[in-house]
Each structure stands twice: as structure tokens, then as C-alpha cells.
Amino acid sequence: MRDLLARLAVGAPVPVFPVAGGGTREALARLRLRPDVHLVDTPRHAIVLLVLGEFPPGEIAGLAAVHDMIPSPRVTVHWTPGGPRDDVPRSMRVDGDDTALVAALSRVAGEVLSGTRASEPPIRPDVDPVEWRGIGPYGHGGKGMTGGTPFGRPLAERAPDRDGLELDQLSVTVGPWLGALPPGLELGIKLQGDVIQEVEIHPPAVTLERPDGWVRALEVPVPVAELELDRARHHLVWLGEALRVHDLPALGQRTLRLAQGLTPGDRGEVERVLAEVRRTGIYRLALRGLGAVDPSQVGGLGPVARAAGLEDDARLDDPTYQELGFRPVSHRGADAADRWRQRIAEITQSLDLAGRAGDRTAFGDGVVEGPRGRITSDGILPGAVTVDLLPELLTGLEWGDAVAVVWSLDVDPTGVASRSSPEGAAA
């Protein structure tokens, strides 16, 4: 029976739960396009735990916990697009490109399913979080009505709320490996019902994703066509991931596919896909009126600023762009819907610029307009500032709305790291 099932199961995409560190944005996008791999949102649905990318030194936050949540049979694979990691046992490591990775994922999944490879035991010890067995009158660790730690955890306490009903407030750390949030973003939130009452930003669990091409443009002039294609690609990958979180995974895959090998000649196809995104009604159904920012707080934040009506764009000051007749697109709503509209408009604009730029070069004098906003040589990346917006914007939102706002800001969780260690970005 087990063999038969294992043989049948080989035909299905391998459910993989990714723990994606820094520098894996593009790799993750490519992986989502692979028909033999299915990146899932919760470890409970996975077989393989895929650890990829760069992490801060020391233990990877939350990795052991996520590993143990994967139901048996489970297996871990480590892969680093840039090169092999040394601290990982050889047996769990995959070197090589995407194709090698996909082959390895299918192979190990087949092996644990058929039983030729043993399922990995849990990493964390089999110990209760709090001693509770046998304590109290019923032996369940509780005390009275709401006291004690029944079955190992306390019950939530009440807290005031905006509608005058003082009900229980759950404080919980979400992320860093929650499929609904960008990988590595870890938030300490307090929820009452489904509404967020307080947000605290934790240090990111991933290392900085250095936008190398853009950082280089700080020093030397770079071809405009290259920069603009990169910008369009960045936004398309963002769109693909955001569409997935909004439960339009197939359309998301389509935009991710467009991002692969994008050329200015793809403009027609890009416009068709973007029109399809608009036709889903996502602005009106899911985004309108959410997370409106104060224009005075978003200076330098690129699309976020321009969606709030600011004509804030380093390209305006660059002679090459002036020569190309560049005018920034902008929207006035400042909300999530306008941020989507803004990026979608910038995709076609960038393709247009890339097509017309020829071999002109731009920038190189210490300021660059990156896809997330203004990059300067002081080392603070725009992602850092975007993360700072979250506590204020998310407070008072329903959980799903909060997720929509996080994605609409194109938050880079590693921004926090770039701020705490300024040399991180400028290096």
C-alpha cells in the first residue's frame, strides 16, 4: 500500500516549505514557476523544508520550530544560489543551479515517501514549554477559571478596545517564515479578534539583500536600459508574489514568468497581463482605502511616495533621463490601491524607457532611484524606511487588510538591518 502510494505520489509536485534568506528573491520566483515544485504556505502541507539564501550568523530564527511542524515524512534541503554553505552536512546540501535543486527536491521527496530515506526526527526536544502535567485539581496545569497554564500555555488577558468591549488580546509573533508576509519579516503583534492593536518590528531573520546593480550605479554611470529593465523586473516579481498572497497564484505565476528574461520587446505581452490584473477588480475589492500614508513621511520612497502624489524621483535630476523626456507617473490616493497602480504604471514606463534609451548611461553621482526608492551613499536603503511605516499603518486593521498593506508597500525586511549597521549597504 505504502509503495503504491509512493509511486503514485511521484507524479505530484513536491510540496516544499521555503525558509528563504537574503538574496533569494529571484531564485524563489524562479522556483515558483517550476511545475515539479509547489511552494506551500504552511509547514503542515509540506514534505521538504528548503533552506536557501543568507542568514545572520548563528542559528536561523524559527527554523527548528518550522522543521518540526512539517508532518512526517519530512526532509531538509539546503541550497544557496550564490554558492555552497559550509556549516551544513553534505547529505542535506545541494550545489548547483535551479535545475539541480528541483531534481534534488524530487529525489529526496521520493526517497522519504517510499521509505528508502528515513524521515528526519524532530530537532527540538520533546519537552513541554511549561511544566503542566499533573498540576492543579484536574492535572491539566490550570488554576481557577482563567489562571495557570492549562496544557502548557496561559489564556489571553483582556485589553481595552476602540468599540468599548474589553475582550481578550492575543500577543503573537508572526513570521519570519509566514507565507503571507515577505520572507524574513518578523512582527510582534497584538490582536483583538481579527484586528491588530499593536505592532512591533523585530530584527529580520535574513541578511540584507544587496541591490548590487543599484549600489554600483552610485559610483559609476550605468546603462539606462539595464537599470530600467531591472526596475521593471523587480516590480513584476513583486506583483507576482503579491498576487499569490491575494489568492491569484496562477496570474502571479504569469507575471513571474514575464520577469524571466524580460526585454523591452515584451511590452505588448506585459500590457496584456497588467490589464488582466486590473480586470480582477483587485483595486476595488481588496485594496481601495487601505493603508493611506501621510505624504510627508514617505519622501524618497519611490513608488510609495509617487503614489501619494509626490513628484519624488531621482531620475528627474539626471541629465540622461531629462534628455529622454522622463516625467514620473504619480497617483494621488496614497492608499494600497494607488501603490499597486503606481508600480503597474511604472512597469510599462520602465520598459518604454529601456526601449528608447539605446546605450545611454545615467547616475553615478551618489544618488540612484532604485525600485523601492532613493538609494544614497549613506547606506540606508528605502526598505528600512518602509518597514518603519508598518506599526502606524497596520494598527487598527483586520489581519487580511494588514497583509495587503504590507505587500502594497513592497517592504524589504532587511531594511532594518541596513539601518542598524549602516556599513551593510554601502559596503
Binding site: R2, L4, L5, A6, L8, A9, V10, G11, A12, P15, P35, D41, T42, R44, H45, I47, M69, P71, S72, P73, L113, P150, F151, G152, R153, L170, V172, L178, G179, A180, L191, G193, D194, R244, V245, H246, D247, L248, P249, A250, L251, G252, Q253, R254, R257, E276, R279, T280, G281, I282, L285, A286, L290, E398, W399, G400, D401, V403, A404
Partner: protein
């Protein structure tokens, strides 16, 4: 129909159509994502089922184990019950009772209970959020849903689905009551919590009520959920598209064509329409669908007289 035959009929029909829903879901997904070549889609659901059966079922720290076991069973049972209310061809009916649409409505409204239990039982943040989402969603869509189904009973002068079908001999209800079918399909998506209204099991909740479910339990949950969608489509075909009525082809074939046509529309819309916010969904139900459903009742009623 004797109970044994009823079980065989409904069982086979549900298994076949749930499988086809899974195939359709794959094909539409591939199509929208821009991939051509769907040969693989036909065997894929089988492989996925085998994979889930090879996984261990997950349990959280302190779940409501009985409720967690009951939820998918209840959901699947309700899908099957809803299907029994619908005649599938002239004379082929399990329970074409006088109060047929009440039976169907009762089965669908109980879906809310199954999904709520499924999310609540896990004692984990995201499933619990999903459970409460289902309650809000189902409460918002259930009144317009019942209203448009009742409207189809007006010309039939009966609550029996068989008589509702035969009252469409001259004209299908989809023409007679143009508002009915769209409202029915939207609210039906809500009850089967299928995309774009899969709020209780949405990705922003990491899978919502099924976020902590794995293995065989996840398999039966997905099958049960698809069975609700099948029942919704079958009832849509019977109440609005004349069921098994139609020229040239045999009745059962007409019923199958219409049901799968509606299933295709429902599954397609999941890939093409965005998931609304919770608040938008609630407002949509009460301030758009409900008034439109009332207009549908009274205008169609006046025209029937």
C-alpha cells in the same frame, strides 16, 4: 430510489465530479499562468491524493479532537445531502421531496457549522481567524442565496426541485429571472468557500482553517469542499438552466453538461477575480446582493403573475 442505489449513485457522481473539479482547477490554473499543454492535469489529482495519504496527520497541542474529526465528515455529508435534493434526469432522483429547496438550503447553511468547527478545533491562531471569517461570510451570503432559490419556486408553485425543473419547460429561469443566476453563483461560491470567496481558507491566513491540517485529514477536507461546489453547480443547473430538459440529447447528459458548464464558470472565476476584503464581502452581501435578490423576487414575481 432505494437507499442502496442512492448511496451508489451519489457516491459515484460525487467522486467523478470532485475529480473533474480538481482537473479543471489545474487546467484553468495552467491556462491563466500562461502554460500550454494540459495532459498532465488528468493524473495530477490522483498523485496529489496519494501524496497526502502518505503524510502523517498533524495534531496541535490541545485541539478539540472530536470536532476536528467531525468537521470534514460533516462537510462531505452535507455535500452529498445537498446533491440528493436534485433530480439528475427525468425520474432519477434520490429525494425529490416537497420541500426540496429547503432541504438543499438547510444542507448548505450547515456548511457554516462544519467550517467553523474545522477552524475552531485546531486551537491555533490562523485557523481560528478562518473560522470566524466563515461565520461572517456565510451569514452575509445566506439570505440572498435563499431568496434567489425561492424565486425559482414562484413559477413552479412548489418547493420541489423536480417541479421547479418542469416549470422551465417553456422558458429557463435564467431568462425569466436574469438576476437570479449571478447572485446564486456568487453566494454559492461563498458557501463552498471557493476562490474568489475562499476567505476562511485564504493564503493571507496561511491556509486558514486548514493551516494546521495535513495528510489524510487535508485530503478529505479538500474533497468535501469540492463536493459542496459540485452540489451548488448541480442545483444551479436544475433551478436556473432547466436541469435535464433539453432537445436531442438524453436528459442526464444535459444535466451533466449544464452542471459542468457552471462548475467551469465557478472554477474559472477563482483565477480571474480577486478575493475581496472581509469587510467588502460583508458589505457586498448585505448592501448589494440582498437588495438585488429582493428586486429579483418581486420583479420576477410580478412578471410571473
Amino acid at each position: 430510489m432505494s437507499p442502496a442505489w442512492a448511496v451508489a449513485l451519489v457516491g459515484v457522481l460525487l467522486m467523478v465530479s470532485v475529480y473533474l473539479v480538481a482537473v479543471m482547477e489545474t487546467i484553468f490554473g495552467l491556462r491563466v499562468s500562461g502554460v500550454r499543454g494540459y495532459g498532465r492535469a488528468w493524473a495530477l489529482p490522483m498523485s496529489r491524493a496519494a501524496l497526502l495519504l502518505s503524510q502523517r496527520r498533524s495534531v496541535t497541542e490541545r485541539p478539540d479532537a472530536q470536532a476536528w474529526a467531525l468537521a470534514p465528515a460533516l462537510l462531505g455529508g452535507l455535500g452529498a445531502v445537498a446533491l440528493t435534493a436534485i433530480p439528475l434526469a427525468a425520474g432519477v432522483e434520490v429525494a425529490d421531496v416537497d420541500a426540496g429547496i429547503v432541504l438543499f438550503g438547510a444542507a448548505l447553511v450547515q456548511v457554516m457549522v462544519a467550517v467553523f468547527l474545522h477552524g475552531w478545533a485546531a486551537n491555533s491562531l490562523f485557523p481560528v481567524l478562518g473560522a470566524f471569517r466563515m461565520a461572517a461570510l456565510a451569514l452575509s451570503v445566506s439570505i440572498p442565496f435563499s431568496l434567489v432559490v425561492i424565486t425559482t419556486a414562484l413559477p413552479a408553485e412548489s418547493l420541489s426541485v423536480g417541479l421547479i425543473i418542469s416549470s422551465q419547460e417553456s422558458l429557463w429561469n435564467v431568462v425569466r429571472q436574469p438576476l437570479g443566476l449571478p447572485i446564486y453563483l456568487i453566494t454559492g461560491l461563498g458557501f463552498s468557500f471557493w476562490a474568489p470567496l475562499q476567505l476562511p481558507d485564504a493564503r493571507d491566513l496561511s491556509g486558514g482553517t486548514s493551516a494546521e491540517v495535513s495528510g489524510a485529514a487535508l485530503l478529505v477536507w479538500r474533497v468535501a469542499r469540492a463536493s459542496i461546489l459540485v452540489a451548488v453547480a448541480a442545483m444551479g443547473a436544475a433551478a436556473f438552466l432547466g436541469g435535464y430538459l433539453g432537445p436531442w440529447l438524453p436528459g442526464w447528459l444535459w444535466m451533466a453538461v449544464k452542471t459542468f458548464g457552471l462548475l467551469a464558470i465557478l472554477v474559472w472565476s477563482g483565477h480571474r477575480i480577486a478575493r475581496p476584503r472581509m469587510e467588502t464581502a460583508v458589505k457586498l452581501g448585505w448592501t448589494v446582493l440582498l437588495p438585488l435578490a429582493l428586486v429579483d423576487v418581486f420583479v420576477s414575481g410580478a412578471l410571473t403573475l
